[in-house]
Structures are given as structure tokens and as C-alpha cells.
Amino acid sequence: MGEPTTKGKTAAPALPSIRGVGEMRHLGLLGALALLVVVGLVTRPENFATASNMVSILSLAATIGVITVGATFVIIGGGIDLSVGAVMALASVWATTLATQSYGPVVMAICAILVGTGAGLVNGWLIAYGRLVPFIATLAMLVAARGLAQRMSDRKTQLIQAENSAIVELSTTRWLGIPLLVYIFALVVVLGWILLNRTTFGRRTYAVGGNPEAARLAGIDVRRHTMLLYALSGLCCGVAAILIMARTTTGSSTHGDLYELDAIAAVIIGGTLLTGGRGTIMGSILGLLIFTLITNLFILNGLNTSDQLIAKGLIIVVAVLLQRRNLKERAP
């Protein structure tokens, strides 16, 4: 990210402030995370700081985490993807129909990824070439994908058959005490980080989100890039579908309900601007971990789900207020 290349010219002016804000925000997020850890240590000393609890927090975060990586790209690129939860549900259902299951676990995984990417491409095509507003195009996909998932599964929960238990083993097999799906989550985060920070694709994403017109004048094919961003988000939903299948041993049209809100909230808390052009993967992941940690703490302490929602709402507001202040301070 340090060396400005010719390709990154348009994005270059914005970069210093992105990095600055990013680091500032990360400090704040790490502080919030540390605070939650302290709360956990004080309230449930015997349960919280155990290795197995840490592992279950990461396993819980993995599914939405993968989706959040895709959502970060879309939002930095100036768009929004409301269809993530529904697309994940559709991919999980499609990959667990008896017909798909007859081809074995590898085809099931490929099917989930293809369905996710396909839905993402449709979103992207409608937005980039069909000139639909992202909110509307992905809202339409949310409704339609959920409906298709229900139709395909006949509103039933589709169990993964015993002969395809390789999928479930992603959740039950552990390396060094950590389930495979956490490694997949980590891999997606690392790949996402590289893609955003070390490639032309990433620079173009910032450029397209920051100022599409300038990006276009600089020779970036903005429409094609926009379409690819949604396809990437769909791809992440496909991967997330594999993870949710592994965790729940099922595909279901009810999977991923309101994931879009959790993913968007995590991205916003992480310091990414909804208007595009700024944001980081690490911020989004920290935002997500804060949310997951809250859920975990509430359940460990036997507290009410409703209070948990209130806490999450407050955190979103506080995060955005802080973010705005930081931006003002940094403005020349």
C-alpha cells in the first residue's frame, strides 16, 4: 500500500487519510473489544477465558465473518448488498437438495459457491448495466432468493446425508483444537485483505467508491468493476453457505435471516463509510467480533435477548458518532 503505482493514481490522494482513520478506528475498536473481554473475565471468570469458549466465539463469527468480508468490498465500492442472508440460504438449500447431494460433498460445495456467485453476478449486472439502484436491486434479490429457497426446499429443513458428512466435518474436525471452518474464515479474511490492499482490484475498489466519475476518467471500467464487486459478495455468501451447512448439518431457507443487517452493522462499526471510498477489512472483522462477543457474554450470563439487541443498537450509534468526530478532526 505504501508505494503509489501508476494504476493507483486516482485512489492515491485518498489513501493517507484512509490509513490514518483506519488505524485510529482500530484502536477504538480494540479498546471496545478489550472492554468486553474484561467484562467477560469479571462476570464469568470460570467460563469466559477458556480455550473452548474462544473457539466457539470464532466458530459463531465465521459464517457472518465470511459474508462481512464480501460486504466490506461492496460498501467500500459505494454500493450495498441487502441480499447476502437470502443468497446464503438459497445456496445452502441448492447444495443440499437430494439431487445435489447424490454427487457428493465436493459438488455440494461447488454448487453453493456457484449459486452464490451467480446471484451476485445477477445483482451486479442489474446494478452496473441495468442501472438499478443497489438498494433496490439487492432488495429484489433478497425477496426472490428467499422465495426460491423456500420453493426448492418446500419449506423443509434439508439434512446433510451421512455419506456427505465431509461437509459437517468442517465443523467437527479440529486442527490444534480449532475447527476447520475457523481456518476457512481466517483464509477468507487474509485473501480479502490481500485483494483489497495489495492488488489493482483493491485500489480500483477504493477509487470507484470514492469518486466513480474520477475513476472512469482515470480509465477504470467502473461498470465492470461494480459488477465484479457484487459477484465477489455473492461468492462469499456461497462460502458462508458451506460453513452454515457444516455447523447446522442442514440447508434451510431460514438460514441467514437478517444477516444483511449484522454484516452491514459490522462494516459500519469497523469504520467503513456507507458512502464508499473508505474502509478496511480488519475494521469490519473487529466490528463483527464485538457483536459476537456481546452475544456470547449475554448468553454466558443468562441475560435476555432483547437487552442484547438494545446493546447492539447503542454500539452502532456510538461507533458512527465517534467515526464522524474522527473524520472531522482529520479534515484539513
Binding site: 464469568r44 459463531l60 437430494l98 445435489t100 454448487c111 453476478l121 423443509k156 447446522t248 431460514t254 438460514h255
Partner: protein
């Protein structure tokens, strides 16, 4: 320009390829078709099943994406088809109150002989049920009750409090037999704000109290596999040793069981709720922590159709003395264990 065409080609090719690859994978026809016959475990030993006056029965239910409600619609239809004298008239299932009201209105206008309604919300559909009754159409209220007794002829439904009681007794007895003192009892609810959930929890607590036990911790999921999995994952962390766990709903139970297997926990007894086929198979296997499930059976829809037919034809229930069908029927919540699961398998619904 050529670049543009190539790109388009890529797009079409990509989409087409994905569609082709995936198109073969949408089928859900099982290798061995499950028996789709309507549950008819206890054939009436009277002339009531003989064809009578031809009647038209209207049916309206929510479209919730949940195995239980799917089973409700399927059971109703299958039972209606068993009778040559029943013209079954279902309306498009919907989760929208407004749409369900107009659907019921259309059935009233069609002058059906009886209406079976599982309302999205009893309170909100009360008015239209009153209209039906005023138009001389007997309303058979399925499960979610209308607050106004004038609105329906007969109510048939499950016993949420009784479910809790059944689960509480099973767990209480198991723990007492084992001689566990001060047991850790965990409860995973459905949607906590619903009255039915609160009834279930109250029944559970009341039954446990008779053994001197109480619930250690409870958390709500949302009746889905995924939420069940999430809640169970954290609850298992919060309680390193559990003696018994009651999960209100077998649909979300699939997720709960996945979490238990992942955590490798076997030290406790788990009881389910509703009575899905999956749960019954787990119980039958004998190797699962799931030892029992307490029913809240969607077979009630079959019974509701039978009642509607009897009422429309002016018949009573042959085993009872009275000439007319009773005003309300509360189904008992039955406890399914390894010992009696055989008898229930045919009634299990696919979640």
C-alpha cells in the same frame, strides 16, 4: 467494441454455465418416497366415515417457512382427499394478515359449508371469523385461538402448557431415578415473546417444581436451525456440566443437536418438542443425547378437517354420547421415547 462483446460473452457464458451446472441439482425427489398418506392411526369404528352429504370445506393457514406449518397444510389436504364427500377448497397460504383476511372473505363469499382457519394471529382475524359465523358458516379454529367465542364453532389445538409439563415430568423422573441432587437444567425456548413459549416454559417450571427442581438457565432461539445452533453453542460454554436440557422445538433442535455433537457433550438427557421425524429417528437410534420429545402434533390439521366434515354434515363424534361435535378439543402432549417411538413414526413430520 470487440472488448465489449467479449465481456458480454463472458457474462452470458458464466451465467449460463452456472445455471446449467446447477439446474440438475434442484430436484428434491427422494430415492425412497416417504409415505404421503394422511395420518389415520385410529379409524373410527362407526358409520361416520361413510360418505354423506357433499360438503365444501374452506381452508386457510399461514405460510410460515417452518416444517410444522408445512405439515399442517399437507395433513389437511391429505385428509380431505380421503373423503369422496368433501370438496376441499384451500386458499393461498400467506403470512400477511391483510391477505389472510381477504382470503377468508373470498371463502365466505363462495358459501363454503365449513371453514378451517389457522390464523396468523387470532386477535387480528377475529373479525373476519365473526363474519363467517354470522353468514352461517361454522368456523373450526385451528390451534391459534380467536379471543371471541362467538367467532368459532369449535376449537382444536395443542397444549403448550401441557408440553412443558410432559417435558418437565420426563426430566424430573429421569433425574430423580438417577438420584441427582441440585441438577443443572437448561431450557432452549422458541421465540420468547410469544404466549405459546411462555406457556411452555411455565408448564415446564411447574412440573419440575413437583420434583423440587428448577430451571438453571434459559435462552430463546427463533425456531430455526441456525438460531438453535447459535444459542446452544454458547449455552454449552456457559454450563460445563448439564444434567438435562429441554429444547422447545424439534426444527431448531437439529441445530441444537449439531452444536452438542460439535462440543462432544454426552453427559445430559435432552428432550425435544413438537415431534418431527428427525427427532424420532434420533430417539430411535438410542445413541443420541435426545431421549424423548413431547408432541405438539400437526396431525391436528387432519382432525380439524374431520371435525369440519362432521359439523357440516350435522354429525357428532361417534365415541361420545352427544349428538354434536364438542366446542373445544385440546390435544394431549404425548411423550415419545425409545419404547413407544415405533407407534409415532408414521405421525412424524419432516422438519
Amino acid at each position: 467494441m470487440s472488448d465489449n462483446v467479449a465481456r458480454r460473452g463472458f457474462l452470458v457464458g458464466g451465467l449460463g454455465g452456472a445455471a446449467l451446472l446447477a439446474a440438475g441439482c434442484t430436484s428434491n425427489e427422494p430415492a425412497a418416497a416417504p409415505t404421503s398418506a394422511a395420518p389415520a392411526p385410529a379409524p373410527a369404528a362407526s358409520g361416520n366415515d361413510q360418505p354423506g352429504t357433499k360438503v365444501t370445506i374452506g381452508f386457510s393457514a399461514p405460510a410460515a417457512d417452518h416444517g410444522w406449518i408445512a405439515a399442517i397444510a399437507k395433513n389437511a389436504e391429505a385428509t380431505a382427499k380421503q373423503y369422496t364427500d368433501v370438496d376441499f377448497r384451500p386458499v393461498e397460504p400467506t403470512n400477511d394478515i391483510n391477505q389472510q383476511i381477504s382470503a377468508v372473505e373470498s371463502l365466505i363469499a363462495a358459501k363454503v359449508n365449513a371453514l378451517v382457519i389457522l390464523p396468523n394471529d387470532g386477535q387480528q382475524l377475529n373479525q373476519v371469523a365473526l363474519q363467517a359465523t354470522a353468514a352461517g358458516i361454522p368456523v373450526i379454529n385451528l390451534d391459534r385461538i380467536f379471543p371471541d367465542k362467538l367467532a368459532y364453532r369449535t376449537w382444536i389445538g395443542g397444549d403448550n402448557y401441557g408440553m412443558g409439563v410432559a417435558a418437565g415430568h420426563f426430566i424430573g423422573k429421569q433425574l430423580k431415578d438417577k438420584g441427582v441432587a441440585d441438577p443443572v437444567i437448561v431450557e432452549i425456548q422458541g421465540i420468547a415473546t410469544l404466549p405459546l413459549t411462555q406457556d411452555r416454559s411455565k408448564g415446564f417450571a411447574d412440573a419440575l417444581k413437583t420434583y423440587g427442581f428448577s430451571v438453571t438457565a434459559k435462552q430463546d432461539a427463533k425456531f430455526t436451525v441456525e438460531t438453535g445452533n447459535q444459542v446452544a453453542t454458547s449455552l454449552l460454554q456457559a454450563h460445563k456440566k448439564i444434567d438435562a436440557l429441554w429444547n422447545h422445538d424439534d426444527d431448531q433442535g437439529v441445530g441444537v443437536l449439531a452444536a452438542i455433537k460439535e462440543a462432544n457433550r454426552t453427559e445430559f438427557v435432552m428432550v425435544g418438542g413438537a415431534g418431527s421425524l428427525n427427532a424420532m429417528k434420533e430417539i430411535q437410534s438410542g445413541t443420541s443425547v435426545l431421549k424423548a420429545t413431547v408432541t405438539y402434533s400437526p396431525t391436528m390439521a387432519s382432525s380439524a378437517i374431520k371435525l369440519a366434515r362432521l359439523i357440516a354434515q350435522g354429525k357428532g363424534m361417534s365415541d361420545l354420547v352427544e349428538n354434536q361435535v364438542p366446542q373445544s378439543i385440546t390435544l394431549a402432549s404425548e411423550t415419545i421415547t425409545k419404547e413407544n417411538v415405533e407407534k409415532y413414526l408414521a405421525l412424524g413430520f419432516e422438519s
